[in-house]
């Protein structure tokens, strides 16, 4: 049986990058068998341009097909594979092995704070629930009369550019210590998506969203710990977005 199943990545020029052995320690949990999650080690032969996702694929495709994790796009745009890698929330497909210290084992586990389903898969529903609760859609009562687009200047557009990048991967919310305490806090991702509309010059529903977030579980629970900003794979300034929403609520307008 062929051993080298994982697709080699990187152009051939980069294959000159040495291969190396790395130990991955994955927190496995099979709800049909296990009472408690358990850590399992895998020694893998990997290449210089491989990502953590490649390593997980290698385990799944060559060693144990039952390893369960989500993934789709494999280049950091779909938000499927957020997980805790060496204690930090990251996308497996965007984390190059060579950027981690491969002389040490690499610990991989599911996101914290969301119900664990199997291996690296958590239940995303609570996360999407709070996203949906902030009414994340444009609210505008009238359409432009000429049947054309609404006008918006590049400056107005730039005002909320940062928060349009969100891919709803949950890396931020599940790294927030306030969310960990009881999961009732709306969480940074929901606030980011509210921000995206509160500061959109075309939107008329800002007040509604600000009222929703001006709540016991809303923006005021944020303790500015910056874990979310550090975790966001899209480089969104999450804490800043939250601060801007707080200020908008205090002012009573965006």
């Amino acid at each position: 049986m062929a051993s080298d199943v994982v697709e080699k990545s990187g152009p051939r020029a980069h294959e000159a990058v040495p291969t190396f052995t790395v130990t991955m320690i994955v927190r496995r949990f099979d709800p049909e068998v296990d009472e408690e999650p358990r850590w399992v080690d895998y020694d893998l032969q990997m290449h210089g341009t491989d990502r953590v996702l490649d390593a997980l694929h290698k385990i799944k495709w060559e060693i144990d097909g039952s390893l369960a994790f989500r993934r789709s796009c494999a280049h950091g745009v779909c938000g499927s594979d957020a997980m805790r890698i060496n204690g930090r929330n990251r996308l497996a497909c965007k984390t190059l092995l060579k950027d981690l210290d491969v002389s040490q084992p690499i610990y991989v586990e599911a996101l914290k704070g969301l119900p664990l389903e199997k291996d690296l898969i958590v239940d995303m529903e609570p996360f999407f629930d709070s996203f949906r609760e902030v009414q994340p859609f444009l609210m505008a009562s009238t359409k432009p009369k000429d049947g054309k687009e609404r006008l918006q200047s590049p400056e107005q557009r730039a005002r909320f550019d940062d928060t349009t990048k969100c891919i709803l991967c949950a890396a931020c919310t599940s790294s927030c210590p306030v969310f960990w305490t009881d999961g009732q806090y709306f969480g940074p991702a929901a606030i980011v998506n509210a921000h995206r509309f509160i500061f959109d010059s075309r939107d008329e529903g800002s007040q509604v969203r600000m009222d929703i977030l001006n709540d016991q579980e809303g923006v005021w629970r944020c303790r500015t710990t910056f874990n979310c900003t550090d975790a966001c794979p899209r480089g969104i300034q999450v804490t800043q977005a939250i601060a801007e929403v707080k200020q908008a609520i205090m002012r009573g307008k965006p």
């Binding site: 999650p37 969301l114 664990l116 629930d129 306030v178 305490t181 999961g183 001006n214 016991q216």
Partner: protein
Amino acid sequence: MTTSIESPRAARTVRRGGVNWEKWGWIYMRVSGVALVVLIFGHLFVNLMIGDGVKALDFAFVGGKLSNPFWQVWDTLMLWLALIHGANGMRTITNDYAHNRLVGVVVKGAILAATVVLIILGTLVVYTFDPCPAGAPTDLLPTFCTGG
């Protein structure tokens, strides 16, 4: 440590109208924080750094301070701002960690009670304080009780 929560985002109760305590609490923490920096560091500086520092602390020292209206106001402000700031902070922390409603209510009740009692007590002390109680040994009293 458990790594996941059984049911995050339990059904939420609709917010009652009226004053938004979360927002004002948040603002209060910041405003009082700024004021407390001045008050507390002033307090600590005077008590611990000037003269002989902690060694100079005694009834006479306190009595001297508390008979001065400036320090009376200072201490009252500090007392109120700090206690409410601290109590509100403790309330936040309780909200974070008390999963059981009853526990939360009890803890917050205790914080509230302690705070109210101490604020009243402290305020009374500051304003009803007699720096020269009759019958006290004069060497313990501020000099102005005996002197001119």
